[in-house]
Symmetry: D2
Subunit: 294 residues, 4 copies
Amino acid sequence: MKVGFIGIGAMGAGVVRNLLAAGHEVAVWDRFPEPVAEAVAIGASAAASPFEAAQFDVVFSMLAHDDAIQSVLIDSGWLVQLKKPLIHVNLSTISVNYGKKLGELHDVAGIDYVGAPVFGRPDAALAGTLHLVVGGRAELLGKLDTLLTAISKKVWHVGEQPFQANLVKLAGNMMIACAIEAMAEATALGTSHGIDRNIMLDLYLDALFPCGVYRGYGDFIRRREYEPVGFKLPLGLKDVRLALEAGEASRVPLPLAGAVRDSLVMAMANGYEDKDWSSLAEMSYARAGIKREI
Amino acid sequence: MKVGFIGIGAMGAGVVRNLLAAGHEVAVWDRFPEPVAEAVAIGASAAASPFEAAQFDVVFSMLAHDDAIQSVLIDSGWLVQLKKPLIHVNLSTISVNYGKKLGELHDVAGIDYVGAPVFGRPDAALAGTLHLVVGGRAELLGKLDTLLTAISKKVWHVGEQPFQANLVKLAGNMMIACAIEAMAEATALGTSHGIDRNIMLDLYLDALFPCGVYRGYGDFIRRREYEPVGFKLPLGLKDVRLALEAGEASRVPLPLAGAVRDSLVMAMANGYEDKDWSSLAEMSYARAGIKREI
Amino acid sequence: MKVGFIGIGAMGAGVVRNLLAAGHEVAVWDRFPEPVAEAVAIGASAAASPFEAAQFDVVFSMLAHDDAIQSVLIDSGWLVQLKKPLIHVNLSTISVNYGKKLGELHDVAGIDYVGAPVFGRPDAALAGTLHLVVGGRAELLGKLDTLLTAISKKVWHVGEQPFQANLVKLAGNMMIACAIEAMAEATALGTSHGIDRNIMLDLYLDALFPCGVYRGYGDFIRRREYEPVGFKLPLGLKDVRLALEAGEASRVPLPLAGAVRDSLVMAMANGYEDKDWSSLAEMSYARAGIKREI
Amino acid sequence: MKVGFIGIGAMGAGVVRNLLAAGHEVAVWDRFPEPVAEAVAIGASAAASPFEAAQFDVVFSMLAHDDAIQSVLIDSGWLVQLKKPLIHVNLSTISVNYGKKLGELHDVAGIDYVGAPVFGRPDAALAGTLHLVVGGRAELLGKLDTLLTAISKKVWHVGEQPFQANLVKLAGNMMIACAIEAMAEATALGTSHGIDRNIMLDLYLDALFPCGVYRGYGDFIRRREYEPVGFKLPLGLKDVRLALEAGEASRVPLPLAGAVRDSLVMAMANGYEDKDWSSLAEMSYARAGIKREI
């Protein structure tokens, strides 16, 4: 199948590689030349513009946030000039509100639209082991089956509306943030009682939470070093805020998310802006007056 | 080895069975005759009193809470009349404060004392797959090795002080409560956006949190039925409160635990007192005005 | 002095009346004819458009929210077509972010701009007893002195930047929301211990908080009726959210505001959307399982 | 009237003076000789023991906390040896739980008991302008009328049960804590937007909250110095905790109180243990990364 791909960041690069590996042809565009060159080196073709990347039956986009999509795909006039039929699969993590707006704009433009944010890091994107959260009409998913299967471990169809996938992605990140904060509070409590946080984490991650999210972020907390960055603090704060906003719009109080938000904001204010978002854990230690060891 | 065992509840029954299965002789005492009779039926001997159960080198206790221990082992004069040397292994989940006090009382009485609360349900106690959280002097643990190995999957030595084990147990339950609340908030958010909570839980429990705690409690949330009870709501509230108290005593703010506490109290006030503590999830739905389906 | 006035709602009507009473000439515009006619009946002149209302040295605006201003004053091309010099005094309660943007747009357009939200209800607007929170350059305030004095009890100059006044207004409303929630939690606690909430409020409002905010909202809580509406629930939620957003932008965690936000969202979800925002108090009662008396 | 008075701290000294000034005879006891000597110097008589102070129709007690009362009045055997009839008026701030227990112990002993904690500082005790919160049977209050009137500005009868007065006192302190935290969050938000906190407080304390609690604690926040101490941080934390405990016992979630609790605990952990409890305000600044000016 021949497809376009707009936005070749750390995540997009892995996805493109898996599309190519599955035998698909991929025309890629990015605002920077290097990632395009790298994709071309492994078999992709270069599209001269986002518009040119949308000349096939399917176009993927994987951009950083609402504003990037608005600028590249909407304000540019891209969406309203596309040839039809076309399915646009948006792998970006965006707000629920903006997901709704995009859905409406695609309806007006007569372009099929699927919201498809992913769970997984760049290494999972490369390994083809992403979890794909998909919102869109079932008939569209049928047409996309070989493509989506090529880039993911599993495809989760959460609803007929594209924005529903965005909600599920944001709520998942909110849960991850809660898990990080819970590990932080528990180990702060232990430290204040003279207990080694490594022993606590060994125990909890074996007896109670033997799963990747706790292990991965538990590792940052063990080291109390929040590099190399997996997911940057401001992005984590943004996603928790977007979950709270979605809750406010649909009238769902989220007290745990609210408490975590405060830790994330506190971390922003106290020097962790460029660190992994698990650095919110340091706030539990700071609030408890627990100093950093040297 | 010959040991005593005081308190044969659902948990203790399983532990006794594993001690017997490993070839140890066990003299059991309980305030009710039935569990004693059941233990005798599989090879234990009956002790006429807590005092008689403490005539060997090691005595276990597994009672419901601080007050039960105070009544059976302290106010009764038990502790101060024991023959020495004796190691008392206390498997009960108790408060940090009371754990400290018990440590001091045993020191005064000249009795060796090990705090050893467990993670695991009655089925794990029976299967010998408990995780044992142990606080006590390393030399004592050496002497207890065959016993502790017989009743658990793994022994976690978290510190030299018995109360440290109590803290680790309470902090672990606090983390579990946070996990339940996080699932509740995420699925309330999804429901309000028209998304089936089962699909969300399928996804989160596979992609993010493939571990027993999330699966077990996720199952209650799927059904929105909180029976049969695994861990009763008032006990869950008690443990979260004890974690908050321990934090207050050692000056550790615990905002997430505080938020969960409120959901637990709200559940107590709204008819879930006799349900599993995962019924705190219903509070997320009630706050969001999401009615029960029929 | 001759001035224009855009937006004659319940608040604006009172302000216009005081301007007229102080001897100023006022050309008024509103999207609805009735309030304009009422203003004309007491001595104002009718402006045919927002543009015509801005033909003098000073123009006031008092619109409901960011979007109304954006639509009437910005998207319409109004701001960029104004004759100069002109001072625009914006009495509206708007977000900090939008206040910043308006400041920049006025700078570009060469129009002097003062942010001037008010504390006070329609009755205070009418009585001329508003508190005026002013952000803007001191020299501008000098020129506005007789006007601002005519419509307020006191003018508070909080900073040189117009958006600073918006921040102070939002933070004040956040404090009011906290006061309401505190009264709700205290009286829920009392009710659950068999104490009449009226006696508690009598005591607290005399011994501790003898001031208008507590008295006014305490009165709603006494009656557990949240009508007639002084400040509608969704507006209250909006202001608390805007305070939280401002805090997030400037990296200030606001745990109390976050907790109140959840009560406001819960009230939106549970049937109080058209009530006074003090109906958030009912959420304390609902969480505690305290039923409404008949 | 002739009465006894047990516990002559800063508060008790003022109360005794007003009893004497109103023409009553007062036999005083304290564990320290100095306050007794001072009371005798202005006309009181010295009682040799708490027992001797209870030889009249009425005995007041004003001790620091639950433990002090337990030690002086209960464990000592005082209560069970008293002559009857006797009314014990307990002016101490104690927990609801302990208030209930004291009520039961007095019933058993056949001694009439009135819970009567006060709102007001030592200067108000001296000036006779305390607010007296009274729980007890109406007939007892009739007998106490001249005494209670002599020591207070106003007597608030909140219920027939003595512990109800304790609850009302604790809930009031909880409200005060919320007011302090709200001022702290608002001024942290302002500071981060370049606004002088003094201007904000001037405005809020004039336009919104012109009452003593806000003014008094606002003054600490203006100076960001939390001395001289009015109410010490650990006592403030204790009262908020007791309110939360009372809420947990009667099943009332208290999210605002929970958030304030965390600020109080954080202040304990970060060096404010010996300061006024309004130093919790510094936690808002610390969380926002706002440094102390020099």
